[in-house]
């Protein structure tokens, strides 16, 4: 028996006395029907039946097939017996428990011949099939977004294209019911501001993120990842504004670490960067839709990319931590073990490195470095960071040789030192380059913390992948991590 928590739902006052919620299809309710008839004889008893107003027989029964009374009184199981005074619930007993029912009703000797206790059944008002519909029907909607009524002859998918909301692919219509269901995925209030979204710097609520997550095709449990990604994107360090506006190809790349990858069914193995997995595909898409729709960042307008790349539809990677020889990317960036984290990197399309013959770590490191040295232009130095995804078969080479991630990273930096004379304008017959030779022998391709190593991909194939970054550091964008909340 419990004292009822403070009411959160508006309700009409209940009749004084005893109030019970039942349904015919619940065996425990059938079991207690004689008890209810007994209680009705000496007490004021009001019965609400969720599925059949003819049950229990021989009693006056309130019809709650609309489930409104059940929903308003937050009934989670049937039978639930309430004691009401002055229209206000004083206490409730859930399921059949003789002692509790006797204490609550002030009657003794209830249900002779019945077992001492019997758990109830789930209330129809919390059945997943009905719960969001009831919230929509009877709840005081907290959603404040403009309602857009589609004309009778408008196709809803076409209508969303016409309004400019789509990234080019069809969207899931964000009905109020779907948005309410999406908001069940977070404990955050719909009106909480998540971030100011560039380029228009519009304050974006949890509700707006949820609407765009619905459109992207997310399930409610993905929402916390999308919220954390929006927060990370809109920091000064990540600089979503500049990344959007640049003429370069890059866009936000998300990397998810922590147990949540498994809970959401994210793919970190075969085709890890590819199509075919709902969580990977829709979480990345949701972030881009928030930037497009809330921030007003559209291609051809503030998005000035010359080429862009297919991952700008959404680019969300889960790291395979379990099979990695090394700590995770999130761990490298300072995350505590076991935490769910999302990391944003300003990246362009992935480029595969094929080395099928190296069985020694030094040889393989040289292959990886050769591709890293070439990103953007062999003479482009220090400006751009990169993610290096070491695939499982390449990772095995380093594991068997006992190379730590730090060791590989340090060696890559050494191998990415480029002779200064190769970097000047005209060198190699290319006009591109530095105005004059630097007064040092070599210059580094990357900033000291500009190579980020992680692990995912299928288990057959001696490949790795480089994702080149955009302008790194304070004048551009820096890899940015946020904890995924609830």
């Amino acid at each position: 028996m419990s004292l009822h928590p403070p009411a959160t739902r508006s309700k009409e006052s209940l009749p004084d006395g005893l109030v019970v919620f039942v349904k015919r299809e619940c065996p425990t309710c059938e079991l207690v029907a004689p008890v209810l008839r007994e209680l009705a004889k000496g007490s004021a008893l009001t019965v609400y039946s969720q599925d059949d107003p003819g049950f229990p027989e021989d009693l006056e029964v309130g019809d709650d097939t609309s489930l409104e009374a059940s929903w308003r009184n937050e009934i989670e199981a049937v039978p639930t017996l309430l004691r009401v005074e002055g229209g206000v619930e004083q206490e409730r007993a859930i399921g059949w428990h003789r002692g509790e029912w006797e204490a609550l009703s002030g009657r003794s000797g209830l249900g002779p011949g019945l077992p001492e206790l019997r758990p109830g059944c789930g209330s129809l008002s919390v059945d997943p099939e009905f719960a969001t519909k009831l919230e929509l029907q009877f709840g005081d909607s907290k959603l404040v977004s403009r309602r857009i009524e589609l004309a009778r002859l408008e196709d809803e998918i076409e209508a969303m294209y016409d309004r400019g909301w789509s990234d080019g692919l069809p969207l899931v219509p964000p009905t109020e019911q779907r948005v309410i269901a999406m908001l069940e995925g977070t404990t955050r209030s719909p009106d909480e501001i998540v971030a100011d979204i560039p380029p228009d710097l519009v304050p974006c609520t949890v509700e707006k993120v949820a609407i765009n997550a619905v459109m992207a095709g997310c399930r409610p449990e993905y929402l916390p990842v999308v919220l954390a990604a929006v927060e990370a994107a809109c920091t000064d360090t990540f600089n979503m504004h500049g990344l959007l506006a640049t003429t370069m190809s890059s866009g936000p790349v998300m990397i998810v670490n922590g147990p949540i990858r498994k809970r959401l069914g994210m793919n970190s193995e075969m085709n890890a960067l590819g199509q075919g997995h709902r969580a990977n595909a829709t979480i990345g898409r949701a972030l881009q839709l928030v930037v497009r729709n809330v921030g007003g960042g559209r291609p051809g307008e503030v998005d000035r990319a010359v080429f862009g790349h297919p991952g700008k539809l959404g680019f969300c990677i889960a790291e395979n931590e379990e099979d990695s020889p090394w700590p995770s990317l999130a761990s490298d960036l300072g995350a505590e073990p076991g935490k769910d984290m999302v990391t944003l990197f300003p990246g362009e399309g992935p480029r595969t490195i094929v080395d099928q013959l190296s069985r020694e770590p030094e040889s393989l490191a040289r292959s990886l470095a050769e591709t890293l040295r070439g990103i953007y232009h062999p003479k482009a130095i220090i400006a751009f960071d990169a993610i290096l995804i070491v695939g499982p078969e390449h990772a095995r080479v380093f594991r068997e040789a006992g190379w730590s991630k730090d060791q590989l990273e340090a060696r890559l930096h050494e191998l990415c030192q480029i002779p200064s004379e190769d970097l000047v304008r005209g060198a190699g017959g290319m006009a591109e380059g530095m105005p004059q030779k630097a007064p040092v022998e070599t210059l580094p391709k990357f900033r000291p913390d500009g190579i980020h190593i992680m692990h995912c991909g299928g288990f057959a194939g001696l490949f790795s992948v480089v994702i080149p970054g955009w302008v790194g550091g304070d004048i551009g964008s820096t890899i940015t991590m946020k904890e995924i909340g609830s």
């Binding site: 489930l67 009905t175 948005v179 500049g242």
Partner: protein, 97 residues
């Protein structure tokens, strides 16, 4: 049970910024005696373009004030925008490469 989960009503996913027309700032009748700001956004060679503009404006009687954003990848800092607005009658922002 009934439901009013009507797929014909959907929620606006945008920032709901009003698209009502905004009035343009009043145009200058003449450059004579005005102060014109030239904002360099820190793109390479933006200064070359602005130098030429400065000559043109000065030959028409305007006084020039020069400003520079820390980086072209981010919006101009609020204080800089305020400073330009308080010191100039007009501003030209240069993009170059």
């Amino acid at each position: 049970m009934s439901t009013n989960g009507d797929a014909r009503v959907i929620l606006d996913p945008t920032g709901e910024r009003s698209v009502d027309k905004r009035e343009k700032a009043a145009r200058l009748a003449s450059l004579d005696g005005t102060t014109v700001g030239l904002l360099d956004i820190s793109k390479p060679r933006g200064d070359i373009f602005l130098d030429r503009l400065a000559n043109e404006f000065e030959s028409r009687g305007a006084t020039i004030k020069r400003y520079k954003k820390p980086t072209f990848t981010k919006p101009a800092p609020f204080d800089l925008r305020q400073q330009i607005a308080s010191e100039c009658a007009a501003v030209v922002e240069a993009l170059a490469d």
